[in-house]
Every structure is written in C-alpha cells, then in structure tokens.
C-alpha cells in the first residue's frame, strides 16, 4: 500500500463527511446532496466523485470492479482500479457477480446485480435541469417545487420536430415519484436497470460537489408520455463475438472501407458468454 497516505487515500474525517452525505442521499432518493468534495490525485471530470464515494465506503474485505464504457480494460478504468489497489490494497475483480463495489462510468453491467452490491456511478453534471436553467440557485428552487414542466416541454418539442424524444443517454428519470435525477451518461438502454434494482446505486459528482442515491428496490421511471412511451436502443443483429441478442453493442470499424462489427460493450459479460459457449 502507498506509504504516507491513509487507507483508501482520504483521511477518516473526510470519509465520515462523505458517509454522512451518502446517508442523507439514501434517505432522500434522487436528491442532490452538496458535499465538500476534495481535490483528488486524478483530474476532475475523470471520476473524482465516484472515487471519493468508493474511498468513503470501501473496507478491507471489499472486492472492487471498475469499468468504463462497460469494459474493465479501458485506460481510465485501469487507472482507477490501480489507484485503489495501491492506496487500499483491496482485492479487485472483473467478475460482476463477485464484486461488492462496482465503480462505473457510462454503463450498468449486463449481469443482473444482487442485494448487497453497491454500484458507484461517476457523474459529470448532476443537475437534470441544467440545460434548461444554468443557475444552481434557480434549479434548487425548481427541485423543491417539483417544477419539472420544462423537461416535458423539451421532450414535447423533440416529438413535434423529430417524431421522437432525441435524448439517448443521461436520460432523466423520476426517482421514488419525487425527484428528477440524471442517471449519469449511461445509455438509455440501461435506464430500466435502475428501476427496483436490489443493489444500492450511488452517484458522485466531484467537480460539481454533489452526491445522490437510489436505494435498493426504489421505483425509477424514465420520463415519457403515455402516447410516446420510453423505448431503448435495439440492434438488428446479436453480438458478433458471443451472440448475445440482448446486450448493448459497441460499433467497431474494422477497416478503411467502412466494414463494421457489433460487439458487447460489457466485456466481462461477453467473455463469460463466449467461455460458456466454448465449454458446451
């Protein structure tokens, strides 16, 4: 472990502050709790909110998985996993089912989560009303009053102009019938996984200094209209590697003539399926 630094980098005082913010966030699902975010040795915008949450909750017996774009081996996921291996000396894994804490950027794993697991989301912009109103002082009042009409107007305008809602990721959700929340830039494909999930879902925005949460088994509804119900992305082919018909696919350009290949973005899920197929 890294000499000269506390377990999991942050001092215990800061961890306590973070855990208190988490408790408040869990008590008020979807509400953005301001917290005294610290400068981390990784840059803002690269997962400092998630890293502080993980540092705040991780213990010696935890098993950590870190993914970025669904993959364990993307450079930033590697960097964050190493950070905790170095500062906390905890076990790390790529297996979703074995992890107690999963820190993620832009995806929720395809393997269903279980009770007792915690997913930590890295959040760039926590405020769902930000593109309607840039001022924090205004948006906080709008949340207090449940004033979310602007979002519906925006979606209505999308439908009039394009025939559909044109938000594809970071698609806003209503949590526990009270607060509208940004689920972080996961594709809307992952939104249904938020609803009634048995795992604890924590969201951390370091630069914007906000923590929020979806406790286990909480109702999370993607905003939509009765006559324009929420839908997710679909592909007209399965994963080229494992044949999964139901996972989120990345598009890979394989040559300079525009040949494309579609493969699972969740590399661990894909590998697990391929191995199972090979074993048959």
């Amino acid at each position: 472990m890294l000499a000269g630094y506390n377990f999991a980098y942050l001092d215990e005082h800061t961890k306590r502050m973070i855990r208190r913010s988490i408790l408040k966030a869990v008590a008020i699902p979807g509400y953005q709790v301001p917290f005294a975010s610290r400068e981390m040795p990784l840059p803002y915008g690269w997962g400092t909110g998630g890293i502080q949450l993980t540092a705040g909750i991780i213990g010696r017996s935890d098993v950590l998985k870190v993914i970025d774009q669904g993959a364990d081996d993307t450079t930033n996921a590697v960097s964050i996993r190493r950070f905790f291996a170095r500062t906390a000396g905890v076990a790390t894994t790529e297996r979703t089912a074995q992890a107690t804490i999963i820190q993620t950027r832009h995806r929720i794993p395809e393997t269903p989560l279980k009770a007792g697991q915690i997913v930590v989301f890295q959040v760039p912009i926590p405020e769902p009303l930000r593109w309607l109103e840039p001022r924090e002082s205004e948006t906080r009042v709008m949340h207090a009053l449940g004033d979310y009409g602007g979002l519906h107007v925006k979606f209505y305008e999308d439908i009039v102009r394009h025939g559909r809602i044109v938000t594809t990721y970071d698609y806003p959700v209503l949590v526990n019938d009270r607060y509208v929340m940004r689920p972080s830039p996961i594709p809307k494909f992952d939104n249904p996984k938020l609803d009634m999930n048995p795992a604890l879902l924590l969201f951390g925005a370091g630069r914007e200094k906000r923590i929020y949460a979806v406790p286990p088994h909480t109702r999370v509804k993607s905003l939509d209209f009765e006559d324009h119900p929420f839908t997710v992305e679909r592909w007209d082919r399965p994963c080229a590697l494992c044949g999964a018909p139901d996972s989120f696919l990345d598009e890979i350009i394989t040559d300079d003539r525009g040949t494309r290949m579609f493969v699972c973005s969740d590399t661990e899920y894909c590998r697990g399926r391929s191995a199972a197929k090979a074993g048959e």
């Binding site: 610290r38 400068e39 774009q69 993307t74 001022r135 924090e136 594809t168 996961i186 598009e251 590399t267």
Partner: protein
Amino acid sequence: MYVAVKGGEKAIDAAHALVASERRGDPAVPELQLAQIDRQLAGAVDRVMTEGSLYDRELAALAIKQAAGDLVEAVFLLRAYRTTLPRLAVSLPVDTGTGLVRRRISATFKDVPGGQVLGATFDYTHRLLDFALAAEGGPTPEPSAGPSPADPMPRVAELLGRDGLLEPAPEPAGPPRDLTSEPLEFPADRTCRLQNLARGDEGFLLALAYSTQRGYGRTHPFAGELRIVDVAVEIVPEELGFAVGIGEIRLAECDMINQFKGSDAAPPQFTRGYGLAFGQAERKAMAMALVDRALRAEELGEAVSAPAQDAEFVLSHSDNVEAQGFTQHLKLPHYVDFQSELDLLRRLRRATD
C-alpha cells in the same frame, strides 16, 4: 479480433515511462534543482502557490519540475497534495500594514506617508530580449539598499477611510467560510467569493477584469495601493494563550478604489475591491480586486448585467483544476454515448428518407 480497448495497463505504464524520460530530456544537460526553480523562476512558483493555495516554495518548485513547467498541471499537483494535509491551526489575520514592504505604489496620490517604493518590477523595463542573459555567468548588478522595516507605511485605504470618502471595509457577517472544507453554494458571501478568486485561475480573472475595463460591468477603478510585503504569520496555541510567530510569507495585495455615484442601496462614495495573492503575483492581485468589486454589484444596488458581475458564472468557472479536468475529460472514451447518438441519427435519417 477486436483489440482496440485492450492493453490499457501496458499502455499506461509505457506512457508514464515516456513522460519521465521526456521530462528529463537530454541527460547531457544538467538536471534542474528545486532551488533554481525557486530562486530563478520565482514568478512561476508564486503563481503555483497562489492557485494551488499552499504557501510552500519548495513543494511548488517540485510541482513545477514534475509538471515539466506546465503551471496548471503544477497547481493541480499541489492542490492534490494540500488536500491530504491536516489542519493544525487557524492563523490570526495577517497585518499587511506592518512587515517589510518590498514594493508599494499608489496611483491615487503623488506621495503617501512612507513614500512610493518601486521595488522589483518589470513595469518600466523595455521588453527587449537581453541576449547577454543567454550567456551564463554574467555579472549581476548589486541592488541598492531597500526600505527598512522601521519605516511605517500605513495602507492608503486607511488614510482615505478616515475622511469617510471611502466606504469602511465591509465586515463579514460571521467567521469566514472555507471552500476547502465546504461546498460552494449560492448566494456566496464575500469571504467565500474572495477565497474562490484567490484560488482562481489568473488568466480567467485577468480576462474578466479586462472586460470590466472595456465596459462589461464598468467599475471606474483606481489602483489605490499595490504592495508587496513580507508579513509574519501568527497563531495562538490553545495551551499558550498568546500569539507566536510560525513563519513569514510574501504577499501581493491590491486595494482598488472605485468611483461610485451612489444608489438606492449606498450613498455616493469610493468603494473597494480587494485582491491578495502569494509572492509577487501582483497582476493576479489586481485582476482579483477588479473582479471582487464587480461581484459586489448586487450589494451596492448596481444593475447586474455583465459576466464579471455574475457570481454564479464567475465563481463556478474560476478554478483551473476543475476546468482543466473537465475540459480534458473529453479525451476519455465516450463510445457508448456516441453509439447511442449514432443509433438515433440513423433512425432520424431513415425517417426522413
């Protein structure tokens, strides 16, 4: 077989090794020593200490060396270290009216008690490249004797304040807030704003200050006083009950005096803008003073219309550690979101075909 995102671990290790080797450069050229950076690149050290919000010349020099001279990166290194330090004590407010004044100018009075002291400044140098400096070991001129600490030099703002022509220094409502241990929230009081500006990016503040001079939130400023001063830092340990000095720091302080015709909220008087920076970062201190005054628009009953008067806009974007991180995070992979957008775009185009 798809391998594009594989090999992240190896790539990172290789990148670190490459950084180290490029930082060192040609081994035939002697390696930079921290003392050289501290003494000979003092302006860089001052800026990194100010925006890194840690007064430690040696650590700032180390950060500059490690960042290969990239000052914003050095600020980030220093901040990330600072945040791990325990808070042992809170000092008494430093008194910039005492201490050894290295430089002190006022643009509002021809002469002031204690006099004008030009000090070490680039101000009246002709910006001609000095090719003699390129050769090592040239003679250095001896400086003439500077001011002695015995000369009293009251602050110009205090002299004006006695006549009631300058507003009294605004008193904070409570103990100053500390943005390093609590989040920035709006409306932000002045202690909070000043701390944010003191840590803020010099380039950002400079541009904002300049915008007020060009009419975007004009403040009619005069440089009441600019001083560079070495001040003692004192704390009162609980077990002692009296103040003890723990060291000395150099500060650049600017009192901007702004013409003000009065409003519903305040009578006609001169108003203040205040800037403070570590070392001799006087351009930063001046820019900060102009922006501080611009941000007082609401309190003084002025119309808030320009970017420099908008506290949420200024304070949310002044921090270069935050700004550089978020701007550069666009380098991280975004292919999942991009795939969703591709999917949408294809559907939209299919619908219009």
